[in-house]
Amino acid sequence: MSIPLSWYLILSAALFSIGLFGVLARKNAVAILLGIELMLNAVNINLVSFWRYGNIASISGQVFAIIVFAVAAAEVAVGLALIISVYRRRTTVIANDLDLLKW
């Protein structure tokens, strides 16, 4: 294990920033969810590397990463269901066009 912790943290920060750009800049609601997935993965890299470089005997980093997996799966299932439902009613998934609550 000759890799310093900083490499993982920098990679994770870069992945998080790319995901943030995707969330803020994409028009399509499905693409926004893709950006959120990138950000969740960045968080997971951080959690697992802190586990590996910290106290290995306490397994909390890996448990936390598994909970994040479960939450990501739930989030994607409900998010995509919402998008499909919106598409069925309004035939668009462009986030700018979904302005029913805007006045």
Binding site: L15, A25, L38, A74
Partner: protein, 170 residues
């Protein structure tokens, strides 16, 4: 450079390049396929961090379930196979500046931290981290409650997704 470092650098390059393709690709199917490549890179990182179980879970759940779900959603929500016009909204320059600032801020905060260039200790011989993980997930002293809450969350998400996405009754 040790083999570990070479693998990490290759893997990091794949992750960053494919992640940028995910957020910029005009074709959403391509974006979802690039996401699969990114997730594979992250799985290799887990293996490099000696978290083999998480690498497996990453491949099975993220690539096998989530990425495929994205591809289905893209196919269900498009009238034509290719969306027209630019895929980025008019604030994309601001978003890019914000993303770079976030990266810079994170890097600045982390570089001031004393453990930033820490080295990993060897995993002691005879220590089975997977066994520890399994016990931690079902032990009342450790993470039994979060584990059960996660299963209830998944059940609620399952029912909610079926209810929301099902065709409305006429």
């Amino acid at each position: 450079m040790t083999p570990d470092q070479v693998i990490f650098i290759l893997c990091a390059a794949v992750i960053v390049v494919t992640a940028i393709m995910v957020v910029t690709s005009p074709n959403l199917i391509h974006a979802a396929l690039w996401l699969i490549a990114t997730l594979f890179g992250v799985a290799i990182l887990y293996a490099l961090l000696q978290a083999g179980f998480l690498a497996l879970v990453q491949v099975v759940i993220y690539i096998g379930a989530i990425a495929i779900l994205f591809i289905f959603a893209v196919m269900l929500t498009r009238r034509e196979m290719r969306d027209k016009g630019p895929q980025l909204n008019k604030n994309w320059a601001l978003a890019a500046i914000l993303a770079v600032l976030t990266f810079g801020g994170l890097f600045y905060i982390l570089s001031g931290w004393s453990g930033f260039s820490g080295k990993a200790a060897e995993i002691p011989a005879g220590m089975d981290t997977l066994r520890n993980l399994g016990f931690a997930l079902v032990s009342p002293d450790a993470y039994l409650l979060p584990f059960e809450v996660a299963s209830i969350l998944l059940l609620a998400a399952l029912i909610g997704a079926i209810y929301i996405a099902s065709a409305s009754k006429k």
